[in-house]
Amino acid sequence: MSAASPTVSPASARIARFVIYGLLILLAIVYLLPFFVMLITSLKPLAEIRSGNMLALPQNPSLDAWGKAWGSACIGVTCAGIKGYFWNSIQLVVPAVTISTILGALNGYVLTKWRFPGHKLVFGLMLFACFIPFQAVLIPMARVLGMLGLSNSTAGLVLVHVVYGLGFTTLFFRNYYEAFPDELIRAAQMDGAGFFQIFWRILLPSSGPIIVVTVIYQFTNIWNDFLFGVSFASGERAPMTVALNNLVSSSTGVKEYNVDMAAAVYAALPTLFVYVVAGRYFVRGLMAGAVKG
């Protein structure tokens, strides 16, 4: 394109492109470097880590650290690895993401297609929920969980994340459904479809991109959450992030960097997986919501 423009000579266009790509590659390396160090460190034996260069490739790569991190590393007083906590996080993240996404979709549906007096105020309040800092709700939330009998349980943590995520999921779906033609809803009404039939049969099947956006956003946030996890679920019920912290801080005597790194990669894998699988829909969906909303 720049070559076709009369004000830019082919030579300077090539230089510009060189600079742009050079910068992009450099930044990509900067971003990937920590992950690279984590990966190679996790594959090295302890001796090699202590003596060698941080960036050097492992001379005798082994998966021992990975096995230990998963099954036998000591976290606090129990030495059963992180697998139990990984499972805790899965048990937490799946229902929390599912429930908050479905509720967000329902909220968006009602706020755009079944408007009631004061719908703007309700939406405004939900939007406001997005800006409440985590720290501000910790103590009230702890009280509420205590009263509900959900303290230190996965169910309690699911509730916390659903409530906190609802503002965001509602925002996503409302903006998406705002652009959804009202005539379709009217047509379905005349065809005899009820409130939920319209939702399940007409609206949800057309919501693919925004569902992907919401799921990725919620999944990443909930999986990576540390503060709520450490506040409301400790010990055996702790999620992955909290366990990782405990693992790193409770090493006995020798600091096992390779085990720490392997555990950290385990902790990062699910979000990485979700991004790789659904990342392109994420960008597309975010754009669709942004432009039309």
Binding site: P181, E183, L184, R186, A187, A188, Q189, M190, D191, G192, A193, Q197, R201, I202, P205, S206
Partner: protein, 367 residues
């Protein structure tokens, strides 16, 4: 007995009156076209009949039953929307069958009904496709199929042709008219296009600012418009409207302007209702002003005027000739080969049998 009856319908939204007392009746099998400029309330009126918009006051009666408080799906009506409103996630077949499915019609019956509707509209080959894979005309047919399959009491069309190109619009217009003839369906159709209204309707209702201007057959609306608005809105090119005064003996109208011009009093107006010297507006359609050769032999009251030709607009089939008269311009319809040229004087034959007279203050027609 009227099949669809609207009794004194009022609708206000936020203190603004959208509909101001609409009374219309439609017999079974009738084709009612609601026409008017944008913002006149015609789509709102349709939505109230559909039940998508509640009325402020008044009654909607379908087949002897007051349906005001019935949910849209319980009124036994089907609607074709301007944007077609096809469900994007379903196939054509799914779209057409959806209403039946919602009503719990068993699958074999549903399939038979879909096949029948598809055959009527010649979209059998499209049944497995999705709306995004269809052209505008095909989507239009599917939207009609979705209405047709339900066999409702009343069909509602909300400007269904406005998203099509000119050629397709003419085709679909004929198609809808044929459909009406073959099925005997009762139809209410909204459009802002007066040609659509004229060609399809058995009854036209002209609206302006939420007030019904006139209800009548296309012929009545065209020939004897109730007021200046209807006269001006219906017909293209528009009716010529000339200001003048009634002569002292009430036998002619003297047109305003620098030169005295007299046109004989049209027979559509009774002399008793006029006073000498009264201001009036004379309305005459372009096709009632011709050259000598096109003069209607049956015409009773005729005036010929020599006027300088200002502009000639050939359309192929006809030639429209524009000439100055009475401080304004008139448009006359001539044969394509009439030999009229701009700048020359020419004999315009006014067939006043077809002219109408309006009262300038009230804008109502005087009969």
């Amino acid at each position: 007995m009227a099949f669809l009856e609207l009794r004194d319908l009022h609708k206000s939204i936020g203190g603004l009156d959208i509909l101001k007392g609409i009374d219309i009746t439609l017999e079974k099998g009738g084709f009612l076209v609601l026409v008017g400029p944008s913002g006149c309330g015609k789509s709102t009126l349709l939505n109230t009949v559909a039940g998508l918009t509640p009325v402020t006051s008044g009654e909607i009666v379908i087949d002897g039953e007051i349906v005001n408080d019935l949910h849209p799906s319980k009124r036994d009506i089907a609607m074709v929307f301007q944007s077609y409103a096809l469900y994007p996630n379903m196939t054509v077949e799914g779209n057409i069958a959806f209403a039946l499915e919602m009503r719990g019609v068993p699958r074999p019956e549903r399939e038979a009904a879909v096949a029948k509707a598809a055959r009527t509209l010649q979209i059998e080959h499209l049944l497995k496709r999705r709306p995004s894979q269809l052209s505008g005309g095909q989507r239009q047919r599917v939207a009609m199929g979705r209405a047709l399959v339900r066999d409702p009491l009343v069909f509602l069309f909300d400007e269904p042709l406005s998203n099509l190109d000119a050629k397709l619009r003419v085709e679909m217009r004929a198609e809808i008219k044929r459909l009406h003839r073959d099925t005997g369906a009762t139809i209410v159709y909204v459009t802002h296009d007066q040609i659509e209204a004229m060609t399809m309707a058995t009854k036209i209702a002209v609206l302006k600012d939420g007030v019904l201007q006139q209800v009548g057959t296309p012929d009545e609306i065209y020939r004897v418009p109730a007021n200046l608005f209807v006269a001006d809105f219906m017909g293209s090119p528009a009716m010529n409207l000339l200001r003048g005064t009634v002569s002292a003996d009430r036998s002619a109208i003297e047109l305003d302007g620098s030169e005295p011009v007299r046109l004989a009093l049209p027979p559509t107006v009774s002399r008793e209702k006029l006073a000498g010297g009264q201001n009036v507006i004379l309305g005459i359609r372009p096709e009632a002003i011709t050259d000598e050769s096109l003069r209607d032999p049956a015409a009773g009251v005729v005036t010929t005027l020599e006027l300088p030709v200002d502009l000639v607009e050939p359309t192929g089939s006809d030639t429209y000739v524009v000439a100055p008269l009475a401080g304004t311009e008139i448009t006359a319809r001539m044969r394509a080969q009439s030999g009229v040229a701009p700048g020359r004087s020419f004999g315009f034959v006014f067939n006043l049998d077809k002219a109408v007279v309006f009262e300038p203050e009230t804008t109502q027609r005087i009969d």
